[in-house]
Chain length 390, copies 2
């Protein structure tokens, strides 16, 4: 039987009968006698049923409906309210035949309903059926939960690689919303020396565990400055080095887009380069808005796709109070209710508007994107990094 796959028949099944009449439990016990692999435990007090179920953790509950000290239907609801007991198969064993009571029992979460005394062959068939289905279910759930816990722990590691927001001469704010437990987005920033800060964001194609493995590798390489001697102050050289270090042919066909910039606070300039990444945005108080990277000549293709692809370096002024936004395309490639994709232009207009409002623009932009997509999660990983310069 398909559903019983993997369940060893020799494991004894424990059945707990909750019925105030000992004679019923005794009758059921006799029915089960030919099946030594089914153990019957009786509870004759309705008021003790919840505690007994928790103690015995049976494979199946046989539940009477009318008892002097408890309402059987209420007990069904009570088991179902308790997360630890909610999934134990429950067969109502009742003298009542009214369909409305049966319907009520099912609505409260009973798995089956038998009129007592049931035929032994049928009782045993139903006990075995429910116990096996529940055990198979439990196995699947445990495997699933183990996977989830593993992914959550890995996600914690990925997040721990993103530096905390910083204050001071350079101030950062960011949001990171992976679409799965693990995302293909990563970003970071660190001082190269007293005056120069490297700022980068990358987005591996796809999302999930595979892209996360590559994303974390690139992140770790960035954080330990292990780029094979490339000048970390030259964005084009950094992207060229990464393009040769991580060819897609050696990385399961995965490539990534990346924006890399170096802010120099003493020279008041920002150098940057881009590999297939949407443009970063630079806002200068009272000044102009600029898109950095994107379709500029210095931009190259996505990293890892074409060996020898050129990545150049551009330089722009970094005036006091300037704000830089770097993001992954998950924040604007959102399906709208009418089935069309939200345009990058609309997102850029939003950033522009939110930046003028002052603090909290990262949170407001994430909230706006969620509103557009009419959902709290995103289809792709979403990263948004805001850097404000003194």
């Amino acid at each position: 039987m398909n559903i019983a796959a993997g369940v060893a028949d020799e494991t004894p099944m424990r059945v707990l009968i909750v019925d105030d009449q000992p004679i019923i439990a005794e009758a059921v016990r006799r029915m089960l006698l030919p099946h030594p692999n089914i153990q019957l435990i009786a509870c004759i007090k309705g008021s003790e049923a919840l505690a007994k179920v928790a103690e015995v953790n049976p494979d199946v509950i046989l539940q009477d409906l009318v008892m002097p000290d408890a309402d059987g239907l209420e007990l069904v609801s009570a088991y179902r309210r308790d997360p630890a007991l909610a999934r134990i198969p429950l067969i109502v064993l009742s003298v009542k035949e009214e369909p409305s009571i049966k319907a009520d029992a099912f609505a409260r979460g009973a798995n089956d309903y038998l009129v007592k005394l049931p035929n032994p062959v049928e009782l045993i068939a139903r006990i075995q059926y429910h116990a096996r289905a529940s055990r198979a279910q439990k196995e699947r759930d445990e495997a699933f939960n183990a996977l989830r816990a593993e992914l959550d722990s890995a996600a914690h590691y990925v997040q721990s690689l993103i530096p905390e927001p910083i204050e001071g001469r350079v101030r950062t704010r960011w949001a990171f919303v992976p679409s799965a437990s693990l995302g293909g987005d990563s970003f970071g920033y660190h001082w190269l020396d007293e005056n120069r800060m490297a700022i980068y964001l990358l987005d591996v194609c796809g999302h999930g565990v595979g892209p996360a493995l590559l994303s974390v590798s690139v992140m770790n390489a960035m954080q330990v400055n292990a780029l094979g001697g490339a000048d970390l102050g030259d964005p084009g050289a950094v992207l060229s080095a990464l393009n040769e270090m991580f060819p897609m042919s050696k990385h399961n066909g995965m490539f990534f887009t990346m924006w890399y910039g170096v802010a120099d606070l003493s020279r008041r300039e920002l150098k940057y380069s881009s590999g297939g990444h949407p443009p970063a945005l630079l806002y200068t108080p009272g000044g102009t808005d600029k898109e950095l990277g994107g379709n500029e000549d210095i931009s190259g293709p996505m990293i890892g796709a074409f060996s020898g692809a050129p990545y150049g370096t551009a330089t722009t002024a970094l005036l006091p109070g300037a704000q830089l936004f770097v993001y992954s395309d998950g924040i604007h490639e959102i399906m709208q209710e009418d089935g069309t994709c939200w345009a990058l232009e609309a997102f850029l207009a939003n950033v522009s508007e939110e930046v003028r409002k002052g603090d909290g623009s990262v949170e407001r932009l994430i909230a706006r994107s969620r509103l557009i997509g009419k959902r709290t999660d995103f289809e792709d990983d979403v990263s948004l990094l805001e850097v404000t310069f003194e």
Copy 2:
């Protein structure tokens, strides 16, 4: 109701009734009339039932037992044999009341058994109960399968980072058996120049996705020679560099053990170092067996645990025909049937014995370890690398 969590009530439920008497389908149709969210589809030919179920993919099947052109119980078995139909809830709707037939129906995989004509309230309660339970189950299964597929794809990436076995002046053979989809073990080898080959194996604490993220990062750093300028020909320097690059405080508390060696075919020598790793084994034809690393003075602690820990370099002769074995502790830390752990010494004796037998020792050693543990999988990741020098 707990089990129905996440199932929208408004999604119509499709019920397929397989019964040769149109009057029964008509009676059931009338019972369901007050419930517009339940759609009834009738199939009056038993011989067409399998195709119809596959076509309709109903939420619930109502199955008659006695039909002129098919045996209803055989049909139940037939649905259950078909992987695409096996999990569709099935309620037998029969005039037969015999308990042995009920038991047979359950044994074949029926989910429920009602005598016709059933009471409408009870029929509807059971249809809703089974449809909701099945939909909730399907959702969980889909989520689980998506996770599995993701992990399998990531595992494929991890395996693709391990170089293929090579022939020539240096010949490699290896086995890699992760305990979960993704393991914390990694290993590799590559030529540093014409005469020198780097050979390494690392084992991140734990196993699963988190350790795989770190393991792949280290692997990628090794393969692109991105160790911040460390001399790759000096094993102690390589492990020292990795120890500073991957401190456990920055990597979710994860550390790893590692063995790193550099074979120089022109000088006929092998340099090596170890960070908390079990000793590699060197066999020389007709000569002595040597344990390399392990408790030697040049060995340091596991990598990432103590900043500034010293890792030295030892040198040993590499005579023609010499064979090197590097492995992770998963291959010998095996629980035996008596509950004790298999000793490293026993494993080392095994290697010694298998090496003398010639080709295929990697496969034979894995088979022996499986035999000791009396299982085909391993509790921890298992890696075994054999390198033979001309």
